[in-house]
Symmetry: C2
Subunit: 120 residues, 2 copies
């Protein structure tokens, strides 16, 4: 870590401010809200955010894991903006209600790959 | 990341399960509870946990930032166990109520150092 990294503002956010925050697509349409964050105990990292999806595109009310890097906080919208296509959402990994842990790091890597992020 | 890393269980925990969890010392005495986690937006990491301290040792009800690595979940206790001495707690960095952001990465590094962890 460089000295400039150390003195820069850390830009922190409280976990309980993220939970419940609405999620919008780039067209500003609300598609759901952040239910919780799944944390990697050992690494101390956000493995993914779990979005409660409001049944948009005829899809039921499921939980969608989203890579943290996909979420951009938008002050104007007062929530998170994600840049995903209809196709991406339709084929996206998801959980049935109340089951929001892959329990397997391989599937986390697949999740990142699905949205175009490198593994860790 | 090695293949064995990928296939190992990820050991995730939900952010809303961490919030509110009691915190004990190694002598099993409860000293407070986790109020929230402060997340580094850009890195997607837990910068620190904020413990609401119950006024133990004659110290008032303040918020104490604790390095994530200091918290060990103890199934038997049903909460987190931290190995800190009285001296460490008495001199530990803390926040006044409702002010729980250093706003400065340098102080995060100091926090890690205080509890004996390397910077990031």
């Amino acid at each position: 870590m460089s000295v400039s990294d150390k003195t820069k503002p850390a830009a922190l956010i409280a976990s309980d401010r993220v939970e419940g925050a609405p999620v919008f697509r780039s067209n500003h349409k609300r598609i759901g809200s952040i239910k919780r964050l799944m944390l990697d105990k050992k690494r101390g990292t956000v493995a993914y955010a779990v979005m409660s999806f409001g049944g948009f595109l005829g899809i039921g009310d499921d939980y969608y894991p989203l890579p943290w890097a996909l979420l951009t906080y938008d002050e104007t919208l007062g929530g998170y903006r994600v840049d995903v296509t209809d196709e991406q959402l339709l084929g996206a990994p998801k959980f049935a209600r109340d089951n929001w842990d892959f329990g397997d790091r391989e599937r986390e890597v697949e999740l990142l790959g699905y949205y175009g992020y490198p593994p860790f």
